[in-house]
């Protein structure tokens, strides 16, 4: 009897905990979705009179497409640089015996966040003429975690059967040929994963565009959605919540899509030390 009561108590405790977690995690997201369709800018959940006026407004009055294109250009260029450099770098790291001190230096410098050096970086990049250009932002976003991606690629290649490469070498293939016609086609999953992570990182980044892309012509969504909707002169409440929410729900579509395609690999990645910027 006592055991039975305990069991019921356990079950109840389990469901209560689940409910609490659910509320803690879901409430802000529910608010975001309802707010995007709400006619008024309110920080609470309201379900009356849903409207698509906000979505129409951000397309018509707030240049959503312009910012989205900027975001896409920066993220795609950054991802291309990251992927191509991490593939060749990871392959070379895998084949060459690199001294431990180099690995340590790469790891430690990758660990230093962009924020820690953004001030001198800004001066340096403006001397190179890269401020307010797409390519400058793409460079900043791709260089930050490059050694990490190279190392990810190297770890994958360590699981690669050696015989394939040896056979190709006997047939007279050079290193570059082996890389592009044997290694690369067989390592599409990790390359895809690196691409997804690099794209997600670039798409969601705020600091680099805030500092480097202050011109509205090149400004991406992450900064643009705030400059478009926040009214600094409105003293009491400068935030237009419903317009911003409309921006936000469109802005998070690419990360959600990427997540649905790559979530299978997330756990293994976390073990490897991903999400260092958590």
């Amino acid at each position: 009897m006592r055991r039975r009561i305990l069991k019921i108590a356990n079950t109840v405790a389990f469901y209560i905990c689940c409910l609490l977690v659910l509320l803690y995690f879901a409430t802000p997201h529910i608010w975001l979705i309802t707010s995007a369709f709400s006619p008024e800018s309110k920080p609470y959940i309201q379900l009356v009179r849903p409207t698509i006026a906000n979505l129409v407004a951000i397309f018509k009055e707030h240049n959503f497409v312009h910012y989205a294109i900027n975001s896409a250009i920066i993220s795609v260029i950054g991802t291309l640089i990251t992927v191509s450099l991490s593939v060749i770098g990871g392959y070379a790291l895998h084949k060459l015996e690199v001294p431990d001190i180099v690995i340590l230096a790469l790891w430690v410098t990758t660990f230093v966040p962009l924020l820690a050096y953004i001030i001198p970086y800004y001066i340096y990049l403006s001397a190179l003429g890269l401020v307010n250009t797409y390519i400058g932002a793409a460079i900043v976003l791709s260089v930050q975690n490059l050694p990490y991606y190279m190392w990810l690629m190297k770890n994958f290649l360590a699981t690669f059967p050696k015989e394939l490469e040896e056979a190709a070498m006997i047939d007279g293939c050079g290193r570059i040929r082996i890389l592009f016609s044997i290694v690369l086609p067989l390592s599409l999953p990790p390359v895809g994963l690196i691409a997804a992570m690099a794209f997600n990182g670039a798409w969601g980044d705020f600091l680099a565009p805030l500092v480097l892309l202050s011109d509205r012509r090149v400004m991406p969504l992450s900064v643009g959605m705030f400059t478009e909707t926040i009214r600094p002169w409105a003293v009491y409440e400068p935030w237009q919540y419903n317009l911003l929410a409309a921006f936000a729900i469109l802005y998070i579509i690419p990360p959600i899509l990427l997540f649905t395609f790559t979530h299978k690999y997330l756990r293994g990645l976390a073990m490897l030390g991903a999400g260092v910027r958590g």
Binding site: P28, Y91, L115, G174, A245, F259, A270
Partner: protein
């Protein structure tokens, strides 16, 4: 001869990313040291012609009360978020999910949904997450204050720095609560991955004995995952120590002067000194200190990871 040639090709393949990395990232480190020794400004006459001032900036940092409180707040934020909040909530979540998976179909479905929700919160851009939290904390009509009112409590003005709790502005506690929500999924995913390596017989035996999920947590999961704690704590600490985007958007977004708390965090302080007051030399001196902190953390993580 042929072997040598191949090695040169490999060496070149390695050199391309390395040169790129050095040219666009590492070069900044000595440059930062140099700028931190000058009184350079972002605009005005000091932007074109600056003087070498030696260690003056560092002495100024050591005496700056704003820097001290920013450092203190950063430390509290990172400790409470990372070490107390994200680590333990993540572990508990992992346990909840693991338990649910082993106990029936309905619970399995429920925890699968929780998992997706937690990971979604983690991968979504920090700007959007911060904006959501901003609404939750709204002064009069925010959900949190509405909840407090319905419980019969006095609503709190989160953004008023004069309100303190335990000697720290209540704003900081709100930011901590928000960051635990955003970041606890890291320790959850790491724990879940590690729990797959725990012998399943332990959980099966616990199930037969009718153990509850929190008993499983204290007697199986926790002892088996202890070795991961140093790694997780270091990563979580360094993730929160200079949290910029999240706090910046939460406190002001596009209108930084409206409600920005400059001393909330060492990163925000350095940024507002350099880009708000145009004191680049001084801001860079703070950056150099942050870089040193992260170098130490990075070395520690490198050794703990094995």
């Amino acid at each position: 001869m042929r072997v040598r040639k191949r090695n040169i090709v490999l060496f070149l393949l390695l050199l391309i990313p390395l040169v790129y990395y050095v040219l666009f990232k590492l070069v900044v480190v000595p440059y930062a040291f140099y700028i931190s020794l000058t009184d350079r400004a972002l605009i005005g006459p000091k932007a074109r012609k600056w003087n070498f001032v030696g260690l003056e900036n560092y002495i100024k940092v050591a005496k700056d009360p704003s820097f001290h409180s920013a450092l203190k707040n950063s430390f509290i934020y990172a400790m409470v978020c990372g070490v107390l909040g994200q680590l333990w909530l993540g572990l508990l979540l992992a346990q909840l999910i693991w338990h649910g998976k082993l106990h029936g179909k309905i619970r399995g479905k429920l925890v699968a949904f929780l998992y997706v929700l937690a990971v979604f919160t983690w991968i979504m851009p920090e700007t959007v997450a911060a904006f959501e939290v901003r609404a939750m904390l709204g002064r009069r009509e925010g959900l949190l204050n509405m909840l407090m009112r319905s419980l019969g409590l006095r609503p709190i003005d989160w953004f008023n720095l004069a309100n303190t709790w335990l000697g720290v502005p209540i704003m900081l506690w709100a930011l901590i609560l928000a960051n635990i929500w955003k970041g606890c999924t890291f320790s959850m995913t790491v724990s879940l991955a590690a729990m797959e390596g725990i012998p399943q017989e332990l959980y099966d035996a616990a199930k037969i004995d009718g153990a509850s999920w929190w008993q499983e947590f204290f007697y199986i999961t926790l002892p088996m995952l202890k070795h991961l704690f140093p790694f997780m704590i270091l990563v979580l600490f360094s993730g929160s120590f200079t949290h910029f985007t999240f706090l910046w958007v939460l406190m002001g977004g596009g209108a930084p002067e409206a409600g920005l708390w400059r001393e909330a965090n060492i990163a925000i302080y350095a940024y507002s000194v350099a880009f708000g007051y145009y004191l680049v030399g001084y801001g860079t001196a703070i950056s150099v200190i942050v870089m040193l902190v992260y170098t130490v953390l990075g070395i520690l993580v490198h050794y703990v990871r094995r």
